[in-house]
Symmetry: C2
Subunit: 334 residues, 2 copies
């Protein structure tokens, strides 16, 4: 009988999660019912938002259930099918998460067209929800327009590497970013099209950002929160717009941290801070994919990813993500 | 020779201003040149924004100059004129500030139509920049729509008393506010149309607001900042919008204060915080006045003001404003 190896959450972490909060199970898979598929996963997505779902609090998406398999984005290939719309060999994206083999009704799996020369992992990253997050934040939250100067915090992350490249292709005059190591900073300017970048672990971001902000920042894409938001407000131009996408700085804190000390500048400079989660903006996916597909195929956009091999290392991959050990999208390859 | 008694700023306050920061001068007035007017002021405006202008820092409006007469809104009646467009007896609004008699080119004085039964002080308050600030904040910053639940902080102030009434007339389902004394709280519900109000000096605003916020706040009009903004974010509904208009809580601080500890909710709830100053929105005045004039004439809106008599008490009036001793618009009657 075929089996599926799966990772389950068994305890709600307080502060930083540990291995004791997870377990691995091997599940027997029944025969397919009509109109179902069995999928051999190729890549699993691990994402910052998952930390929030490990807490049992009311949020925009429900908490993970204890004793059940971690859900999340995954891409794989159909190996068995009773569905006329989902043939064996097709590549599919789904949300069944941390398991090596996924199985269920065909409707839960979205067939995608492979792009020649580009790995299927992009459907979890720059050509998936990650890239869409960057696009929506820039275009529909911060209302990026040609000529704007853009700052992206956490710029070496999955959303950040996408945001910098999208901003440039959408006409930004200048794109600067922050990241957490000298290597990442170098990648931002060498590979991901940033004009300047700083290592926020070397000195206070507030001082460093002032040095690279030029005449001021029109659009701020915030993946970090905390001191980064404060630093950005300092250098934002009259009428500047901030898209608040993530606040990874505080995700593992057991205490709340005070906010920026300079919010009064929001008034004097007429700034707008808008938070968003992708749920309300998923309808922009076709518009986004129609741009990003060709950008990837032509090489105008390069995808960034950090890959960990093996389902048994999924929890470690998540911990690495939380510590910022990744560049670009963090993935588990099965 | 006619004279004008004027109040001048002579030192930049550090923290709370004192009488030593001001002086009174009596100035001889020359004969009128062609196309000029002399105006006997009836009311002078004292406003929270003036505190910011006493500091020598770059802001959206320039700092007051030391040794010059305090500028600001005023309304009076023309007593002498060499202008064909500005006849003796006309009521005019101008920005020449803290003086009993104002004189200058006619173009600096805007003729207004008196409203029967309504004092001319309204042109400095609810039918002037104060009312326009409330209107713009609700309509063009927070995008108030019928059915929204609204929270106004500093609700007994000039902008706050206007905002509550405008919100109701524009279709808000519920309007709640905060103020700094039991008397003010009573006025908000008895006279200015608030459904509920709390005294923020009695208990933490965060706790009290949660009690009166009902199913959540859609629109927050912020005159206070600090703990009030934090409290509002706690109770804002998905997609809520905050218009940040003032932060009087911090105007006399010599140190910066940390911001709200709950900004992560901006992301999860898709909130928008937008600051504004009236400069960029003054073109909405005709639309606003076309509504507010009839509202005042019919009694649908009542104006709120606290009047101090005598130009010699202008500085005291400003101090009272800073301490929150006023209800509604703070004015000096000449």
């Amino acid at each position: 009988m075929p089996t599926s190896t799966q990772i389950q959450l068994i305890a709600r972490p307080v502060g930083w999660p540990t291995h004791d909060d997870f377990r691995t199970v091997v599940v027997d898979l029944p025969d397919l019912a009509p109109n179902q598929v069995r999928v051999a996963n190729e890549f699993l997505s691990v994402d910052p938002y998952m930390r929030g779902r490990m807490n049992d609090v009311k949020s925009y998406i429900p908490a993970f259930r204890l004793g059940e398999t971690m859900t999340g984005g995954a891409v794989g290939r159909i190996v068995e099918s009773t569905s006329p719309t989902h043939p064996v060999g097709a590549v599919v994206v789904h949300d069944l998460g941390w398991r090596d083999v996924a199985q269920g009704d065909a409707g839960a799996f979205r067939v995608v067209d492979e792009i020649p020369g580009v790995p299927n992992s992009v459907f979890l990253g720059i050509l998936g929800m990650t890239g869409l997050t960057a696009y929506v934040g820039l275009k529909y939250i911060a209302h990026l327009k040609p000529g704007d100067a853009v700052f992206v915090s956490g710029a070496a992350g999955a959303v950040g590497t996408a945001a910098g490249q999208i901003a440039r292709l959408e006409g930004a005059s200048r794109v600067v970013g922050s990241a957490g190591s000298p290597d990442k900073v170098a990648l931002l300017t060498d590979r991901y099209g940033y004009d300047a970048a700083v290592d926020y672990k070397q000195a206070p971001i507030r001082e460093q950002l002032a040095d690279i902000a030029g005449d001021g920042i029109d659009v701020y894409f915030d993946n970090v929160g905390g001191d980064h938001l404060e630093a950005a407000i300092d250098v934002m131009s009259q009428g500047g717009r901030a898209a608040l996408c993530g606040a990874i700085a505080g995700y593992n804190s057991t205490e709340t941290a005070p906010g920026p000390d300079n919010l009064v500048k929001i008034i004097s400079r007429g700034l707008t801070l808008q938070g968003f989660t992708l749920g309300n903006y998923a309808h922009h996916f076709p518009e986004f994919a129609a741009k990003m597909g060709p950008w990837l195929a032509s090489g105008e956009v390069v995808h960034a990813e950090t890959v960990v091999d093996g389902i048994d290392n999924a929890v470690d991959a998540f911990f690495q993500l939380m510590r910022g050990a990744n560049v670009g999208k963090m993935l588990v390859r099965i």
